[in-house]
Symmetry: C2
Subunit: 237 residues, 2 copies
């Protein structure tokens, strides 16, 4: 686990691949885990609250907080799952269920702005992977991560919201343990475990938005949308 | 991340601390992550299905599977949360919400047996920590882990069901990011991220039930029951 520090504050239009390539020595098989905020800011996924007119519903949900932030959350939501003002758990257009539909005011580029999730985090990861290969020659996997809460458990863990060059799920279906029991329920969300492991060395406050996982070769094809439970299998819709 | 291999098949009454101390060189500050099955087997938390009489409800829930296994699941459940036979999501007496109330037939010591969660995984972690300190002199943290599914996301990740010598939640409450936004919602479940990271190097089939996380000093006091969302804050009961 290698934290990558020394990146400058990222702004719209910045080349995140070039910043990472300049800050780290990448090797074939590395998994590069990038906090989504860096990607979102470079992609211009930042909203200035000054121009946002809150709806009545946003005002209802805001409690004592800024209703303009709630308005942005509602606009980013495909479906509101639970509310306890000012907390909103929503499903995003990507299918992720998370607090505030991924809209976040922390680590925003300036006050009165909020950062959205990337429009298509899997595509963001793919572009970043291509860029890193072009700049460094290294065939790496890329995971774009965010901190999600969980039902029934306290605290957040980082999970993969975008992937490229990695199989997000490793399926042990049909393999057998030592006494012959088929492990038919064992599909491991390795991309989420990698994102969480990277969070441990990144830290939230230290301006280390990138970490490299080395020596754990999970190269393959897949994307983070596979991590979304299909509605027909989802017992918690 | 250091996988610890070479442990023998664990049986009731085995001294797990002695087995780990013999297989690994521990250092102060190490986090020793142990798959709960090793702990459960040593503690005799194994049920032979031969002596189990399934109830009518267990038969209903079993679909085409063994109703005796469902009966054990119901006995381990404080509350059934969702069912889709033969899948049962239940809350255990510890407050964990997980598939099959943590009852598992894979990696059981022999056919027609199932392994339960430890009676008190925090206490198990504490005893193991004390044993490792006595045997090796090293002041380590211990996490007892299990693979849990998640609402809305595919695949399992390993989480902490028992802890000793580690703060399971790191609260950034009141700290500020670079533009002064208070990170009031940022409580990170580091024990779960450590358990997930350990899973990556353990693997499910390789008989590596233990991994060591070195160089990430999270020593402190706390236990995994802090990771359970209190009912009054739980939006998903």
């Amino acid at each position: 686990m290698i934290p990558v520090g020394g990146l400058p504050e990222v702004r719209e239009g910045d080349d995140v691949g070039a910043l990472i390539a300049a800050a780290a020595e990448l090797e074939d098989g590395d998994v590069v885990v990038v906090a989504h905020k860096v990607v979102s800011k470079a992609e211009g996924r930042v909203v200035r609250l000054g121009g946002v007119e809150p709806s009545a519903r946003a005002r209802d949900l805001a409690a004592d907080e800024d209703p303009r932030r709630l308005e942005v959350i509602l606009r980013e939501s495909a479906r509101v799952v639970r509310t306890r003002p000012p907390l909103v758990i929503a499903e995003t257009r990507h299918g992720f269920v998370c607090a505030s539909a991924g809209v976040d005011a922390s680590n925003a580029p300036e006050p009165d702005t909020v950062v959205l999730l990337p429009e298509d985090p899997d595509a963001s990861a793919g572009r970043l992977r291509d860029s890193l290969r072009e700049l460094t020659g290294a065939d790496v996997a890329v995971i774009v991560s965010d901190s999600f809460g969980r039902a029934w458990r306290q605290g957040t863990t980082d999970v993969a919201i975008g992937c490229a060059g990695v199989r997000p799920l490793v399926d042990l279906h049909g393999e057998h343990d030592a006494v012959g029991y088929e492990l038919h329920a064992t599909v491991i969300a390795v991309a989420d475990e990698l994102a969480g492991a990277a969070e441990l060395v990144r830290g939230k406050l230290d301006r280390i938005p990138v970490a490299i996982v080395r020596g754990f070769d999970v190269r393959g094809e897949g994307n983070a949308s596979e991590l979304v439970m299909p509605p027909d299998r989802d017992l918690f819709r």
